[in-house]
Symmetry: C2
Subunit: 154 residues, 2 copies
């Protein structure tokens, strides 16, 4: 699955605006429209591009409060356990296991502070969670592109 520089520029163009026409993108990267399409199709088939989505302003949807929660778990907790538990929270936007003191870092969107607190308490109450430490987002500065997980880690 090798991507060359042309592919990267196409992905970058799509990341900025996924609704640009192939002809438009082709003009920017120096290809014809069908050539761009063929590359995009290949990128999708290879899994480099996993889909198309919208950028949404969470506040407009009533998601006003954002925060990150560090989870400290019991020592025998597997990533799969964490993932399984967190997947039941619609408020969890992303989660990863990380190096350092904490075991996992969880990004949360809630409608307001009360909602955020409620979610936090429920997460802290999960059987494998020993404690949590959270920070609230004051203002989002940058949000560039959307990544995905096709996989289920071991």
């Amino acid at each position: 699955m090798r991507l060359n520089e042309l592919d990267e520029r196409i992905v970058q163009a799509l990341a900025e605006d996924a609704r640009r026409s192939y002809a438009d993108i082709g003009a920017q990267v120096g290809l014809s429209a069908p050539a761009v399409k063929r590359r995009v199709d290949r990128l999708r088939a290879e899994g480099a591009i996993t889909g198309f989505t919208v950028r949404v302003d969470p506040a407009a949807l009533g998601w006003e409060t954002e925060g990150y929660v560090e989870m400290f778990c019991r020592h025998n907790t597997s990533p799969r356990d964490i993932r399984h538990a967190l997947s039941r929270y619609p408020e969890v936007a992303s989660a990863s296991t990380v190096t350092g003191d904490a075991d996992a870092l969880v990004q949360i969107f809630a409608s307001d502070m009360r909602h955020f607190e409620r979610v936090l308490e429920r997460i802290a109450g999960e059987p494998f969670v020993e404690r949590t430490k959270s920070v609230l987002v004051l203002s989002p500065l940058l949000r560039r592109y959307t990544a995905t997980t096709p996989d289920t880690p071991a």
Copy 2:
């Protein structure tokens, strides 16, 4: 900027697949294609939808190393300064000012550890940065984004 239940279903449909046709979405939510378009146009004008983008698999693009960096800045540093500085790093996927000890939390994708370290050093070398603390992502557990918008704090 009020969104009703119909708008939310349209946004949800677009979040899953932003390339679905208006007719398709309309069939799902019970509207005609032009009606869906009118609502999407309005959502874009209101800022609820800020754009269309691709979901990419970072690993497939050679972005194998992911991490979060806490930035500790000088006390007179404004969010705008941070945003301006970080926007020049293509490796920065997202950044927010946060409560707690650190001033900002920055998500970074790099091609490998060496690359990550180089970016980290450059960020740490920014004039307003006093120190940084970073954690590496071991395995992504969830990435549910409906990704969101930047924009421009005071």
